[in-house]
Symmetry: C2
Subunit: 581 residues, 2 copies
């Protein structure tokens, strides 16, 4: 037997018990005639002690153990003289009477500790050692719990998990599909799914009523923005539902996850329209951990000969609580920040509402203090606050102010990773105009239903048509989204017409789903959550890579196994393909 | 709102309640001035009633509803005059006051009923309609429950589910790998995993201690034998364990599944060595729902001038209880059966132990009744039994007798799908000789550990070396298998030597796993279950296709979505590949 206990469970209650433990040598130190070893496994660390006076040979063997050696020991649980109350096993140690080396270890390339000396590249190459660090392993444990509790909640709500195929069909627009040559069908290819969208809708046609799947999806695209070529979704679909049913069901999932994983009671998730999100936060995924809403100033700033404001489509600002004392340098930093090319503002106007009641702005030459008082009123600013204003084209200015707002949130410590502020964003536009093709595109996908009251606008003002589409946002990150689908044939045809598809094109691209819809499709809708992202937010991490056991790098490479790689010519021949590099 | 209740929940307790239901029109019949409709959803069937006298227009609309129309109705729960006590909702019906057609349906290509008129091909083409049949959907519900209970059990036993990558690396021996060209790394390919074997072993090196995953695996091979190019495994690995720990843990999983899914208490799973399985059942996966063990007769049949037996390496038989009255024709059928080319016996000797105490055999000319009495004694046969004997080369004869035994099991009704007889088969040979390459091959894989007491035999009698390898067998089907792995470098080198690998070859093929083993690998072992097969056995089905929502056919094609398919030239160009068909 390799162990009677794990390294995480022995406490003062076990004094005197003879135990066998197995694990890794985490640390070792000699102190006078004694040698102390931290023995580590997944469950914790237990201190071992060897004593020269008791057993010289054994102690000598103990001294020779290297870091990360795998050993098995037998010994008695005794009370420690110097206790470590930070860990559950910290009051005891094991007086070793028997030692067996199960496996030796070469010197590891970096420290197996929470604070390691290994750089990113090295840790990825030796990911199996990186995963040995408690801080990394805990992320995987969290991920496991998240998946398990998601399944519990959904199963308890009558959802069935159905595995949809991984080897599917490439669609004409599947530019980002990974494809897989078929040996049995030479010249033909499968594709890996970017999502199980079609299959989950088919399952609704099948009457499955409530479907979910925690499922790998694949996208062959640029990976700059913390993306992975393979990623995991919580994919869900329900029949005979309206938007409200979906929002309630998945708000419930969310509350369950917060409660069961983090012990946090989440209040009702607030809801915001897409239009309001853009107007008040300049983003379709507002971080509402803090307020600092946009205030539009067109009505009160125009016509005072300040050309920048007079020419602007939108003048809009935020109020930074308590920042009036910002130094010139600090304000300049903010100006530099908004002028960065990726943010693109041309300048920043500020207005201090000083503690002494005076109001000073960077545009004092155009605005009298009584006019500035109107600004202060518009923001509901208090003494000590700093107002920051941008002006220009509406979309661009909102986007820039969103960045500035987030930056101020960071500076003011409002974006704490232990604070969680979920939000539903509703009523997304159904269509967006694609400048390149000069056509309207479905913002989600062509089966997303428009709001009934907006259908008439399809003819007159397509951009104003709102969809029954919703996103779940957490701390400024989109973590899920979905829609109520069109199940009605006439409406679907109308949609295809407005998307510029002929019946033939529509059928070529969505053929079997459209066929299926002819045989009695129920009203249905669904949602999909980015599981990697959700886990990283729960874990308070910045990148999804940290919640993926074996992630790929920005070039889509797994540097540990050195993949992708060339394959043998015989293999290519058998598949009836050739590379043309 | 689309419904207040599902079609499976209203009973006599709900009399008088006004309800709204949605679902599919399963059946419709007019009876005098009344129209009755079976409304179906996933949860059941509720009868609707329309009455000409009450509301002529509504009833007329009801009469026009076609099969599989999706409708929403409102009405009152009333007591049925003619009750159907076979279903929970059979005592009530809904007197419809409001009807809305949510979606019409074309005529479906086959009946959506348990007994359908649709052939296999048609049902696969319209799989989404096939899945609408309760009998098919129930298989998916079972599969969901099996996965969920598996996860519950393993999570409760400290296993962590870790997602391993789907885009991995093709190995030099990955002849059956599916490969995936990488757009970002032109000329290079990922491979889809045939199993996560390497990754789960790496996770043990990482100290994960107990890993599992319900995971899709992929194999590009001939699909004749009820296989699928993508299939699902319950993949597990544990550290600091011996074989006994693994057997106990997964016997526990098995018991939990039987109890929670089928309400069956499974007794301790019996164990059998591979050697005994071959000797007594002629198979490494004996069906032990019935006894009928092989009895070897060499000692008592030889030397009586019956050349067939005298020349045979092995004379071996089974005793079919109560079959002595078999007619000549029935015995001839059995003879024809064993002579089929795929079974390959040259003939069948029988011996009847008649009810009147006489013994008659097909070889009476060589054996006196007192000699035949010895046969009877060897089998422990009783009056009325029929003994069936084959002779020839040991392996071939055992294999043929295994087939005959299973055939007799079928004829005697011993192979009931509702009876479950699991079995551990232990002590598999470590190596098997490959005639083609003239080399010994690892029967499982090269990391499988030999029994310590057999290691010396590696030099002298490699075929006799037993492995710490085990299979779980259920009703004559292998449903899982695994082994204790080698974690010791010297032993691993010895193994590679005996498998004819140079150090370089071994490193090329298993490089990063061997590297990983140098940094402190714990003793570990694991098992993997074929989840599709397991589900099909639980469901009492003959093929794994029936427990897969969207299976592929024998040519690896999904006929519903028509995949695989050709892809656009531009797509091939971007991937820097060409087809050579």
């Amino acid at each position: 037997m390799h162990r009677t206990h794990t390294c995480g469970e022995l406490t003062i209650k076990d004094l005197g018990v003879e135990v066998t433990l197995s694990g890794w040598v985490a640390k070792s130190r000699d102190l006078g005639g004694m040698t102390f070893i931290d023995l580590r496994d997944r469950y914790g660390i237990t201190q071992l002690v060897f004593n020269m006076d008791d057993n010289e040979q054994l102690c000598a063997e103990g001294r020779k153990l290297g870091r990360e050696f795998v050993i098995k020991i037998t010994g008695k649980v005794i009370e420690r003289s110097s206790k470590n109350l930070k860990i559950p096993t910290g009051e005891i140690e094991i007086k070793v009477s028997k030692l067996e080396i199960l496996n030796a270890a070469k010197t590891v390339p970096f420290l197996i500790e929470d604070e390691t000396d290994g750089g990113d590249d090295l840790r990825m190459k030796y990911r199996y050692l990186d995963l040995r660090r408690a801080i990394v392993r805990k992320n995987m444990e969290l991920r496991h719990k998240m998946a398990h509790e998601t399944r519990n909640y959904l199963s308890n709500h009558k959802f069935i998990e159905v595995e949809t195929p991984v080897l599917i069909k490439s669609t004409p627009e599947g530019a980002r599909d990974f494809v897989v040559p078929s040996r049995m069908n030479p010249g033909e290819f499968y594709a890996l799914p970017q999502s199980p969208q079609t299959f989950k809708q088919l399952l609704m046609v099948s009457g499955f009523d409530r479907y979910f799947q925690i499922v790998k999806c694949f996208r062959d695209e640029d990976l700059r923005a913390d993306r992975q070529p393979e990623f995991t979704q919580i994919d869900c679909e329900m029949s005979f539902v309206e938007q409200e049913d979906i929002l309630n069901m998945f708000e419930g999932l969310f509350k369950h996850l917060f409660k069961s994983i983090k012990g946090i009671d989440i209040a009702e998730v607030p809801r915001m329209t897409y239009a309001d999100a853009m107007k008040y936060y300049g983003s379709d995924k507002p971080d509402i951990r803090f307020d600092m809403k946009f205030v539009e100033l067109n009505d009160i700033v125009k016509g005072k000969d300040f050309k920048v404001f007079d020419d602007a489509e939108l003048v809009v600002g935020i109020c930074a609580k308590g920042c009036a004392p910002y130094t010139r340098k600090q304000v300049d930093e903010l100006t530099d920040f908004v002028k960065k090319p990726q943010i693109g503002a041309t300048g920043l106007v500020y207005c201090r509402y000083n503690e002494d009641g005076t109001i000073k702005s960077s545009v004092d030459k155009f605005y009298l203090e009584e006019e500035l008082q109107k600004w202060v009123n518009a923001f509901g600013a208090e003494k000590g606050d700093l107002i920051l204003i941008l002006a220009g084209k509406t979309d661009k200015t909102r986007k820039a102010l969103n960045e500035l707002r987030l930056e101020m949130g960071n500076r003011l410590g409002f974006r704490n990773k232990d604070t969680f502020a979920p939000l539903w964003v509703l009523d997304f536009p159904l269509l967006e105009f694609d400048e390149e093709s000069g056509r309207w595109h479905a913002m989600h996908h062509p089966f997303t239903s428009p709001k009934p009251e907006d259908i008439a606008l399809l003819e007159t003002d397509p951009g104003a048509v709102r969809a029954n589409a919703y996103d779940m946002v957490l701390n400024g990150t989109e973590i899920g989204g979905g829609s109520i689908r069109i199940h009605n044939k006439e409406l679907q045809s109308l949609m295809f017409k407005h998307l510029g598809f002929s019946t033939e094109e529509a059928h070529k691209q969505f053929g079997f789903l459209m066929d299926a819809f002819e045989f009695g499709a129920p009203p249905h809708g669904g949602i999909a959550f980015g599981f990697d992202r959700l886990c990283s937010l729960f874990a308070g991490l910045d990148t999804i890579r940290d919640v993926i056991a074996f992630p790929k790098n920005n070039s889509g490479r797994d540097v540990m196994i050195d993949s992708p790689s060339t394959i043998a010519l015989e293999q290519l021949d058998e598949l009836k393909i050739k590379t043309t590099v």
